[in-house]
Amino acid sequence: MWRNFKDSFIKDNPVFSMFLGLCSVLAISTTFNNAVGMGLCVTIVLIFSNVIISLLRKLISNEIRIPVYIVVIASLVTIVEMLVHAYAPSLYRSLGVFLSLVVVNCIILGRAEAFASKNDVFSSAADGFGMGMAYTFALVLISVVREFLANGSVIFYDPFDPEKVIFGFAFESLKPYTMPLAASSVGAFLVFACFAAFFAMLKNRAADKEKEADKQ
């Protein structure tokens, strides 16, 4: 169980190695707070959609499986969007249009098609959770780097009432050396490129090791 969990985090992390859901990753990762909020929303939608789709998998005929997936995912996202709009308004304002763009997030439709439509309910839910956490992990990783570069501090405040700061660290001495570029779109592409290259390097190294092992 741990083996495939580590795999989905590092080796075939949906964001870094399969480049799914890029639209929201780059846009949302300006602050750590947004990243965690978005990650949770995607994870919730992913788990529920996987569960519902794996429940229906025997009934849906092959002809209409994509329409059913789209309807299920769209209604789940609408419901999550409404709940966030009502109970976490500050998170809703900072995520903005990207909360409703989760519907076309390639990860959710991808997992529904590739995994949920073939496995039983429990493993689909676990897979949804795993993929969601991998997505959040990638998002948080990038957002910590970008927020730190952009304003020298990372703060995480409670989404339900923005004043209460849960934890945060700031390096006052670094404040004059912040790079606002990191928060802009240029910075997003650069930081993501470095992470993607880093993970590609990890993958290449693992592949080379396997090749050596086979040669012996």
Binding site: V68, M82, P180
Partner: protein, 169 residues
């Protein structure tokens, strides 16, 4: 042929369930959202005139800058206005407080995402205090070098606000 019928029926059922679920959740969240917006509005107004009661007025000519005008009972007026500065995707929304004879007594930016270090300097306390506060309709509002796009948007907002207040008074 039967299988096709079954799947179409199932799809209709899924659609119906989806529609019902959304409507149900909307039933719960709609009032909460409205209430949030309402008391957020009140909070901003109270920041301008502590414990004044506000009535919304609409005696002013509509223009795309002014969002709403409130009158604080025999204490003055509050104008909520918006314009696009440098950032053309998120507008600047500002709340301006006027006393009874149309002099600005306070200003607060509700929403602005101008570029930090340039446009955002318009919204620093000191700059806002001396350029926008206790000005009357005929004073000239000056702009801030290095933040021309943002300060000219603010100029547009101030002119529209003065005009609206003069009409309402």
């Amino acid at each position: 042929m039967k299988k096709a019928m079954l799947s179409v029926l199932l799809l209709a059922l899924v659609a119906a369930l989806a529609g019902a679920a959304i409507t149900y959740v909307n039933g719960i969240t709609e009032p909460v959202i409205e209430e949030n917006v309402a008391n957020e509005e009140r909070e901003n107004l109270l920041k301008m005139f502590p414990d004044g009661e506000f009535i919304e007025l609409d005696g002013y000519t509509m223009n795309d800058c002014i969002l709403s005008v409130y009158e604080a009972k025999d204490r003055g007026y509050v104008v909520k206005a918006a314009a696009y500065g440098y950032n053309t995707s998120t507008p600047i929304i500002v709340l301006i407080g006027f006393d009874k004879d149309g002099k600005t007594i306070g200003i607060s930016a509700l929403q602005q995402q101008e570029t930090s270090g340039y446009g955002a300097r318009c919204f620093e306390k000191i700059f806002m205090e001396d350029t926008y506060v206790n000005k009357t309709a005929d004073d000239k509002i000056d702009t801030l070098s290095g933040a021309t796009r943002t300060s000219s948007a603010m100029q547009k907002i101030m002119e529209a606000a003065f005009e609206a207040v003069s009409e309402v008074r």
